[in-house]
């Protein structure tokens, strides 16, 4: 499962890189566009200012023309009207002319060629004024005595107007170019944004597709895993059932020869008794005829052989029965029901009364105890086995003291059986749960089945069993069972 995840991680990183690249390119382009747009805008502004400037210049030129024309008109008035009235009429015209030339001079400060012309213009304008005030500028024919400064003024105005008009055309053309540039840049920006957007969109879409594909693959893999687990579980169950069946058949088939061994041993015993009787009879009737070897055979060897055959067969029978019992319990269907552990422990304690009385020991039940939804018989057997062991393996110096506690712990119930018995050496802590394995001096009856049984039952109920023990001090067995027994799949 690690591989696809890695691939996804790589893909994710690649995608992030791609999107970052696109975004960076887009951002840089955008900044460029904005900057150039800004530059163009300021250029535009400048051109507009320049155009306004040109118009102003043109206007002032027009003012000068007008002033000069008026001046000419004033000076052509009939001589009779000369005098203070003519002076009065001329004054504002002259003021307008000088104001216009001054303004024009100010406006054209940036243009040296115009500036040069303005010097000439100012000069000409002054002459014109002077002429006008002299009143002798024109003869009757209207010809000029000296070159007429108004003509010069007009000519200069023409030249300057032409120059300004050229500048104006140039500036308008530039403005149009700048506007066109702005449109182009706006268009470029739009195209760029669209491209970046489209790229990010397609990348995201393909990524989403890959993501959903990998999600699907993961889902399939998960389902496959689940199926595999189910398959394994089914296999295990089959194998387990097979072992159970095998144990059952073997123990059964072993029973049959045992019946014979024990049966015919009894027959031998009966025969030996007959021989014994015959020997006794011979002893009293014909003591000389008795061979001492025969006596030993009949009185010692045969009973001894019979005794060993018997005890060994009996032990074998117990072992076979134990296997049979375990395999039968493995077959048993568990029937979960709500159990009051307190009540159940009291029932178990009642069955232990005789043993407790014999040992002089004491069994304490720590109440209250929780309830559990589980198989009653299994839990009874677990507690009974543990309590029985606790009483059975008491310390030789003191009577057994056994304490049973039960408490809830999250989703589990923890049952503890603690004793002050002889304890179990560290090296045997695992071994004692194996079938037919026992710990410490083999001075108590038993086949080493109880704890194997307890562990098997705990596992079947979905729980565990653990052991804490110190030799010479005591042992504590902890059984942890789920509060709600969950039956495995019926399959």
């Amino acid at each position: 499962m690690a591989e696809p995840e890695q691939v996804t991680e790589q893909e994710r990183r690649a995608l992030r890189g791609t999107i970052t690249r696109f975004l960076t390119v887009g951002l840089v382009a955008l900044v460029g566009i904005v900057a150039s747009g800004g530059v163009l805008m300021s250029m535009n502004q400048r051109q507009i200012e320049l155009i306004g400037h040109s118009y102003q210049v043109e206007r002032e030129i027009a003012n000068i023309r007008l002033a000069v024309a008026r001046l000419v008109a004033v000076s052509r008035e009939p001589h009779g009207r000369k005098g203070p009235s003519a002076l009065l009429a001329r004054a504002p015209v002259e003021a307008g002319l000088s104001l216009a030339t001054e303004r024009l001079s100010d406006l054209s400060r940036d243009n040296p060629r115009q500036q040069a012309r303005i010097v000439m213009l100012t000069d000409a304008a002054r002459k014109a004024e002077r002429n006008a005030s002299a009143g002798a500028v024109l003869d009757d024919t209207g010809g000029y005595l000296s070159p007429d400064p108004t003509v010069l003024v007009n000519r200069l105005c023409d030249v300057m107007a032409a120059e300004e008009s050229r500048l104006l055309d140039l500036r308008i053309a530039r403005l149009r170019d700048i506007d066109n540039g702005l449109y182009v840049i706006l268009g470029l920006a739009g195209v760029l944004l669209a491209v970046v957007g489209a790229l990010i969109f397609t990348t995201l879409r393909s990524y989403t597709r890959e993501l959903s594909a990998s999600h699907e693959a993961l889902h399939e893999a998960n389902e496959g895993l689940e199926a595999a687990v189910q398959e394994r579980t089914a296999e295990l169950k089959r194998a387990n059932a097979e072992i159970q069946r095998f144990a059952y058949i073997v123990s059964h088939d072993l029973h049959s020869p045992l019946v014979n061994i024990l049966g015919f041993t009894s027959e031998l015993e009966a025969a030996n008794a007959v021989l014994h009787a015959a020997l006794d009879k011979a002893r009293t009737e014909r003591p000389d005829s008795i061979d001492p070897t025969t006596c030993v055979v009949i009185e010692e060897d045969m009973p001894e052989a019979i005794h060993f055959i018997r005890s060994s067969s009996a032990k074998m029978d117990r072992l076979i029965n134990a296997i049979l019992e375990l395999s039968r319990l493995g077959h048993r269907t568990l029937r979960p029901q709500w159990i009051e552990l307190g009540t159940l422990c009291h029932a178990v304690a009642d069955t232990m009364q005789v043993r407790l009385a014999e040992s002089g020991g004491e069994l304490v039940l720590d109440e209250p105890m929780p309830e559990i939804l589980s198989d009653r018989l299994s839990i009874e057997q677990i507690i009974a086995n543990l309590v029985e062991n606790a009483i059975k393996y008491a310390h030789r110096d003191r009577p057994p003291h056994v304490r049973v506690t039960a408490r809830r712990s999250g989703p589990d119930v923890v049952i503890e059986v603690a004793d002050n018995g002889r304890g179990i050496s560290e090296k045997d802590h695992d071994r004692v749960f194996d079938l037919f394995r026992r710990s410490g001096p083999q001075d108590r009856e038993g086949e080493g089945i109880g704890l194997a049984h307890v562990r098997g039952l705990a596992h079947r109920l979905g729980g565990t069993v653990a052991l804490r023990s110190k030799p010479g001090v005591g042992s504590t067995f902890t059984v942890t069972l789920p509060v709600h027994y969950q039956a495995a799949d019926p399959s």
Partner: protein, 146 residues
Amino acid sequence: MTGERSVTIIMIEDDEGHARLIEKNVRRAGIHNRIVHFTDGTTALDHILHDEAGPRRNGPALILLDLNLPDMSGTEILARIKADEDLRRMPVVILTTTDDRHEIERCYDLGCNVYITKPVNYENFATAILQLGLFLSVIQIPGSAL
């Protein structure tokens, strides 16, 4: 117990040792009826159902049946006997090592009359057979002069 129409004991038991021990203890219990022994199911069924000398023509019989036979299950023999109109009243005693509850129930469902588990402990075994002997001496078997 002897007599023209005395009950024949048909023992179907594949283990020779068991058969011998059963016979010895039945005799010790004072039962002296004829015992016919079969070690496999096929021959035994053939004798019971078809043999001229078998129980169909030759008077009353009692079956001692072991369930673990090499060629078939004892329950099958039990079922065949209990399905036969003429023979279904014949007492069948199951004598076997199985003490499985389901197996016992099944045998009683099929119509077995007594179910005895062979105890490994010989004394118990002998006692069981002795009790079987006492049982045989008091039961009434149809069509017999026990």
